[in-house]
């Protein structure tokens, strides 16, 4: 195998935090190389060192045998290294086409001949089977499509090495399959891919080789045929974990089912102004987990935002314990004991420019004991933050650090810790395990079940059918803004859900 990229002794330190500790790694031509590792292991940092976002403190990078200096993303792009980041780097109020043209190398004169450039981009998209409307502005696109734009951007620069940081975290199984096809196609052309993920099945399936990172070091590299899940888990953590076995069903008795949340005939518009939720009605009982499945863009986001008070419902009603809370502001919902784990953590869930400590205040800063007569109680807040950090195993060196410097998974853990610590009666969780490593994911599943058993009601939106079936009591499938099916989680299977998600009506589905 010919080596495309070789890293020797890459070290990157932030303050007293060694994010990368003398990493050696070889990437072959035409391979898909998977990078695994727990949250905060240093995967993103390593990739940033390759793609010119960070300059390593020590170590050398060789490209096709020659040492190269990558000081800026442009340097990397010139060599043929392109990265799709965990947090997308698109300009929100520019169109898809403008974003693609703006990127990297062919930037100069990009806007002089827009029509021709557009044809070029369209041609490129067709050859890879990637489809997006080039004239839409980025802010109007769902996450899945934004990622596609990022991939097109990289391909437009003719990258030989494509780095994807947790690309499937935001994708549905179908979209993941599509992505895999594209990746296979790319490697068949001799391009190489570095693929970061927390999903082991995926790693084993798509990867030619797999490297496991732990505490800033690469602990082992395998050919994916020579390794199994258990070994990977052991290496990542240094111990084995048991899976959640079987579906524990709710301990709250079903015969006197108490309805906590009731949604009646709800209509909600999306950002583009078209109706995204078309007359949805649903109920969640006390101590129940209602799973919501569906291909991204079928109304889940709009439904959740409407329930959480972040988006106006244009018709219909929402009742919480028989109280009408339709279009109530988030503050009122919070005070009623409703918490929301938002889908887009950078838009809603956190303020990256604020310190970790201040991020723990979001949503409860005005409550005792966080504040007393308008004054923030710094001592208590710090104690509370430290406690949550320990409980949720968040990797933070200093709580005064800006939250944007936390690793992706640790940001998600911060939000979960903050929201779940509020003794909620209703938890609206949109993709809560997105970006979490397997240990943290398991922890969150257990937490949700624990809250359910304590009597909380939970709405659980996910694109992972496995976890939906594992954790939920009931699952509804959304298709084009309507409920395509409502099933008991125990009695359904992936195939049925897949059918419903694709919009096929089922003869034998137990529709309500």
């Amino acid at each position: 195998m010919e080596t495309l990229l070789e890293l020797k002794g890459i070290t990157k330190v932030f303050g007293d935090n060694v994010a990368n500790d003398g990493v050696n790694l070889k990437i072959f031509k035409g391979e898909i190389h998977v990078l695994l590792g727990e949250n905060g292991a240093g995967k993103t940092t390593l990739m940033n060192c390759i793609s010119g976002l960070y300059i390593p403190d020590q170590g050398k990078i060789f490209w096709e045998g020659k040492e190269i200096q990558v000081k800026t993303p442009q340097d990397a792009a010139k060599c043929g290294i392109g990265m799709v980041h965990q947090h997308f780097m698109l300009v929100d109020n520019l169109t898809v086409l403008e974003n693609i043209l703006l990127s990297g190398l062919r930037k100069r004169f990009a806007f002089l001949n827009k029509k021709q450039k557009k044809r070029e981009v369209l041609e490129l998209m067709r050859s890879y089977g990637l489809d997006v409307d080039l004239d839409t502005q980025i802010w109007q696109l769902p996450v899945g499509l934004r990622q596609r734009v990022e991939i097109i951007k990289v391909l437009y620069n003719d990258a030989k090495l494509i780095i994807l940081d947790e690309p499937t975290a935001v994708l549905t199984p179908y979209e993941t399959e599509e992505l895999f096809k594209v990746l296979k196609f790319l490697t068949a052309q001799g391009r190489s891919v570095i693929f970061i993920t927390h999903k082991l099945e995926e790693a084993l399936r798509i990867g030619d080789r797999i490297s496991v990172m732990r505490r800033g070091k690469i602990v082992h590299t395998f050919s994916s045929t020579n390794v199994d899940k258990n070994l990977l888990v052991r290496l990542m953590m240094g111990e084995e974990i048991e899976e959640i076995k079987g579906k524990k069903s709710s301990k709250v008795k079903k015969d006197k089912r108490e309805i906590i949340l009731e949604v009646r005939d709800l209509y909600v518009k999306n950002d583009q102004g078209t109706i995204a939720v078309k007359g949805i009605s649903l109920e969640v009982g006390k101590g129940e987990i209602l799973g919501i499945a569906g291909v991204a863009g079928n109304g889940q986001s709009e439904l959740v935002e409407a329930l959480a008070g972040l988006r106006l419902a244009i018709k219909g009603n929402v009742y919480f314990k028989n109280k009408d809370i339709t279009n109530a502001p988030p503050r009122l919902l919070r005070d009623l004991g409703i918490v929301h784990i938002p889908e887009d953590r950078h838009k809603h869930g956190m303020i990256g420019e604020f310190s970790v400590k201040e991020n723990f205040l979001i949503g409860s800063y005005y409550r005792y004991p966080f504040s007393k007569r308008m004054r923030l109680q710094h001592e208590y807040i710090e104690k509370y933050a430290r406690m949550q950090i320990k409980k949720y195993n968040i990797k933070v060196s200093d709580i005064r650090m800006k939250a944007k410097y936390l690793s992706g998974g640790n940001q998600q853990k911060l939000i979960l810790a903050r929201e779940l610590s509020k003794f909620p009666e209703l938890i609206i969780a949109a993709y809560p395990t997105r970006g979490l490593d397997i240990f943290a994911t398991k922890f969150v599943h257990e937490k949700l079940l624990e809250y359910r058993d304590k009597g909380a009601s939970i709405i659980f939106v996910s694109s992972e059918l496995d976890e939906l079936m594992e954790v939920s009591d009931r699952i509804i499938v959304l298709f084009k803004g309507e409920i395509a099916g409502s099933l008991s989680a125990k009695e359904t299977d992936k195939k049925t859900l897949g059918f419903l998600m694709a919009g096929e009506t089922l003869l034998f589905s137990e529709r309500k």
Partner: protein
């Protein structure tokens, strides 16, 4: 929100640490003065002599220091006003208009009201604050309810404020039997309390007010729930809504208070220094407030430092002109260079951080 990009650009100025925010204006101005030294040299003047004159004029004698302080007061007020608005993500370019209208209302009240014990001046300041606040509230309302960019509206309001003053001192507020556009003298009983006096120069209570407001603002920003709301709104409106903050309300209240603080620049000047309102009685202090805010790291305590140095520069420039013939306007070059050097220093610092 069309100002997102501007806000993120201005973030290079933001200094949350007090020490940094006080040191930055010093470094900026020193760099500015060093570069301007070359220009002075080219003019055939020894920059050392010129700067000696400058420093002497600024703080060389007690009187000079007093008049520097009298410039420091309004610069601080407008600098604080701009800082407050910025921290909630709003650009208050309208401090000029707010201080004019504040001065007008304060003058009118001071002339009309006849009460003992400094009450007229207190009433005058408060009325000025209310109207100045209202003047800033209008752009805030238009911003949150109609989506109109406040940069535009606050600038337009400046013309409104300045011209209303011009009209007033030429009509109902004009001194009887005079042709100059100015109000009658304000009675002694309506002057601001004087805390120190030196050969005809009076240092009024406004200086105490400046410090009170600056420290209060600092405390509010970092130790209270209001401050948390204000800062959240400026950085991430979506996340602040998610966290239960009513962003519209925050923006409107903050702008009202910002306008009220700006009005004090005008009203204290009239009631404590000039004792009458004249057309164009203090040109440019509203806009200078922006420079002060940026130099001061958009931090209330940094603003005090920046306002003092700019005040000193202004005041010293007179002596420098008289002694060496270097025109006063050179200090605007110094100011601009100071701002530019802070931008470049911040960029270099970031690069340094990235590489190490």
């Amino acid at each position: 929100m069309s100002n997102r990009n501007l806000i993120s650009f201005l973030r290079v100025f933001e200094k949350d640490s007090v020490i940094e925010s006080v040191i930055t204006p010093i470094i900026g101005l020193v760099v500015g003065l060093l570069i301007v030294a070359i220009i002075i040299l080219l003019e055939g003047v020894n920059p050392i002599t010129a700067y000696q004159e400058l420093i002497f004029g600024a703080i060389g004698t007690k009187i000079n220091l007093f008049s520097t302080l009298l410039k420091f007061i309004p610069l601080s007020f407008t600098g604080l006003a701009v800082t407050l608005a910025y921290r909630a993500g709003v650009f208050n370019i309208g401090a000029e208009g707010q201080l004019y209208i504040g001065a007008l209302v304060a003058t009118w009240v001071a002339i009309k009201v006849n009460l003992p014990f400094y009450l007229p001046s207190l009433l005058a300041l408060i009325s000025g604050m209310i109207v100045g606040g209202f003047f800033a509230f209008i752009p805030a309302y238009l911003k949150v309810e109609k989506g109109i960019n406040e940069v535009l509206t606050t600038i337009l309001m400046n013309y409104v404020g300045i011209n209303i003053v011009g009209f007033s001192v030429n009509s109902f507020l004009m001194e009887k039997g005079q042709t100059a556009p100015q109000s009658p003298l304000i009675e002694r009983s309506a002057h601001l309390p004087i805390i120190a006096k030196l050969e005809g120069i009076h240092l009024h209570i406004g200086i105490v007010l400046v410090f009170v407001i600056a420290f209060l603002m600092y405390d509010i920003f970092w130790n209270t729930t209001w401050g948390f709301e204000i800062r959240s709104v400026s950085i991430n409106i979506e996340a602040s809504k998610y966290g239960g903050i009513n962003a519209k309300k925050v923006i409107m209240i903050v702008m009202f208070v910002s306008g009220a603080i700006a009005s004090l620049a005008g009203s204290t000047e009239v009631l404590g220094v000039q004792y009458r309102l004249m057309e164009n009685f203090m040109t440019g202090y509203g806009y200078d407030g922006i420079t002060v805010a940026l130099l001061g790291g958009l931090n209330p305590l940094g603003v005090l430092a920046a306002a003092f140095f700019l005040g000193a520069l202004r005041n010293g420039a007179y002596s420098m002109q008289i002694a060496t013939g270097i025109p006063i306007s050179i200090i605007y070059v110094v100011q601009a260079l100071a701002i530019l050097s802070i931008i470049s220093a911040s960029a270099l610092y970031k690069k340094f951080l990235a590489e190490n």
